[in-house]
Symmetry: C2
Subunit: 417 residues, 2 copies
């Protein structure tokens, strides 16, 4: 069991440091202006329309939902990325514009048309994201007014960035933002990122939206490759309820000018981007509906990374594992047996388990441990580390999931339509 020795990668390095609890004005990349306004989609009167405008055509890469039922804004934006001609991204919250047929696509197109007219570009140079209730048509009068208001208010400031991040929230308890600076050799660049989370949207579904802006100079290919790579070990390794939304969208926008990053610089940037994405992804899980704990699941010793991911995802999704963590119950039987039914090879006689650093199962057999002490430790931990070794292979992943509480069930079984 090497779990305690193999510490997860630190979130800091010599070249950059995440601003965890705050965002910094100086971290905002050049070339972007931001706004967030209330246009009236949400009955609550909370901000519901976000606009990001770039001062010149920028590189944008995108990663989208794998759901086969796809919302109109995803169809539209997916068809336009990767590219180096984007001038704006408009996002509304409160209505997902999903399962809305031809009218939905017309509405998404009109959102782009309106933005293009204001920033003086082609509609094809605008991307759109939506999140909220599905199966309802967008209230276009609100949207039209919101776009006009937002355009009047866009500003290259931290205040604008925060308002923009606020306006994409749905049931998120907290705003999800992070900014950082990256030293890549001789040059320094900035990264600012926002996300909205896998909280539920009454009475429909979770959507993950995220937009990461940077002034690191990237080609379209570099941006797309970096974003895919970052998504693979961050947003694709978190789970609240395993329900993939129709609207999930992750964008990387680069306003960087000058010589694109060289391979060494790109490698450093890639690491920073991944850690920004992991940081946001963990915020999503921590803010999962009703969540009391984040389960930080590390699977080691699988036959390969893909097998490790399958095992981690299966453990993370098990209602029995989730409820054990909810109850601070160091219930190794549930965790080990969940690994056993994952669709990947494991070696039962080489299977070991640590919770909160305490080994409780080693090489296929229980290890005596102080159960009340470990339970107390779990109860006190916001993030419960679970390290599961399943064999002698090289496959290792980290995966994050929320626990499952009565609050989740109550929230999602309330009949509100």
């Amino acid at each position: 069991m090497t779990g305690s020795e193999n510490a997860p990668p630190s979130e800091t390095s010599d070249s950059f440091k995440l601003a965890h609890d705050h965002v910094a004005e100086g971290d905002l990349p050049e070339g972007f202006r931001f706004a967030g306004v209330t246009c009236g989609i949400k009955p609550s009167g909370k901000p519901d329309l976000s606009l990001i405008v770039s001062d010149w055509p920028v590189v944008v890469a995108g990663v989208y939902t794998q759901n086969k039922i796809v919302a109109a804004p995803v169809v539209l934006s997916r068809g336009r990325t990767p590219t180096d001609t984007i001038r704006a991204v408009v996002t509304n919250s409160g209505n997902a514009n999903a399962c809305t047929g031809d009218q939905g696509m017309q509405d998404a197109l009109e959102m782009c048309d309106l933005v293009a007219e204001m920033v003086d570009c082609q509609p094809e140079n605008v991307l759109v994201m939506s999140t909220g209730i599905i199966g309802k048509h967008l209230p276009m009068d609100c949207i039209r007014k919101g776009i006009r208001d937002a355009h009047q208010q866009v500003e290259p400031s931290l205040a604008g960035f925060i308002r923009s991040a606020e306006a994409i929230r749905t049931t998120d308890k907290n705003r999800k933002t992070v900014t950082t600076q990256v030293d890549v050799g001789q040059r320094q660049f900035r990264v600012a990122a926002m996300a909205k989370g896998a909280g539920m949207i009454a009475p429909n579904m979770a959507t993950m939206l995220s937009c990461i802006v940077t002034d690191a100079p990237l080609t379209t290919d570099m941006a797309q490759t970096s974003l895919r790579c970052a998504a693979k070990t961050s947003f694709n390794r978190v789970s609240v309820d395993g329900h993939t939304s129709t609207n999930d969208t992750l964008l990387l926008m680069s306003s960087g000018q000058g010589t694109p990053l060289n391979p060494n610089e790109l490698q450093i940037f890639q690491q920073a981007l991944t850690q920004v994405a992991v940081h946001l992804a963990k915020q999503l899980v921590a803010d999962g509906e009703g969540a009391l704990h984040v389960m930080a699941i590390r699977v080691e010793g699988a036959t390969d990374e893909s097998a490790a991911e399958t095992i981690a995802r299966t453990v993370a999704a098990s209602p029995l594992v989730k409820t054990a963590v909810t109850g601070s119950d160091p219930n190794w039987g549930r965790i080990v047996s969940a690994a056993g039914y994952a669709d990947a090879e494991i070696s039962p006689e080489n299977t070991s388990l640590q919770i909160c650093g305490i080994t409780i199962y080693r090489d296929g057999a229980p290890v005596p441990f102080d159960e009340p002490a470990l339970s107390a430790k779990m109860k006190a931990s916001t993030e419960v580390p679970i390290v599961l070794r399943v064999g002698q292979g090289s496959g290792t992943v980290e995966y994050w999931s929320s626990d499952l509480t009565s609050s989740y069930v109550e929230f999602n079984s309330e009949y509100t339509t």
Copy 2:
């Protein structure tokens, strides 16, 4: 949308009729004796050891858990079936004898030795099943006494059968039994079946055990093929929490003598066996931990049966779908989007949905419906029929799942060890 026309197969036919709410003495197959006793494994003092003895060596087929972490009794019984030499099956509840290493295998072997000695056969002619807490060694003193007591009490009566079925229960709210008679052409045979359910076993895991006895004459191959076929569309199409146990075991025992069933007779028997299995499987779901409703999910129009099953399983496992049903919320967005993220082809523009016979989504677009009326209908239904058409293919399955309630979470997050 043909869901309303394609009614699910009836549970009755001309050749046999399930005894739903009772079991009948006349349905008990010849050649079996049954007992159920309290031997002291369960602190509650409830029955915890079951013994089935056959009067002569019988055919037994088995289907076992796919979990890679497998309990000792499964390893042992799996290695001994299919066969035509079995004389007894001993089952204990309250302790799963799983993750118990070499000692666990010694204990399982000793259970068979003790039974063999009493019924005067070889240990290899005895099968063993266990269910309950995992990771604890069996209290062999209790087991030894229980086997002696049970052997003294075995009797070829309905009372014995019922005591046997009681003794395999763990947290099941209800006993799960069904008996029937099958007319296969000129000959008539009997089937009696018991199961214990996918309720939780504090504080560990769910296990499904089932034993079906018949006097229809089957060869070993016929028994194994029939059982696999029956399991495929019954026990393999139900889900409470998607957590596959280390101990799941389904046995078919045939004491039938004389000419084995001919192909026509076998086909009729197969239908009866499948319906018996479906009946038990639905009882498992209805008795799922905290369940308020059974979701009866029918997927139609998939590319093939396997695709239909993947879609049905994904919809059945979605916490969002489950909690919508808990809240009697006809939330088509959750169901349709769950189908969309299943790992199978769907045709969004040909996707339609009925709940309780009411079409609420047709060919990719919402259909106006009376939401309060449908919600009231769902609330009043113990079994909520969900019919999802996902395209024009021939793949159709039926799948049963329980909803997800706060009671489930509370029960499974109580720290009881």
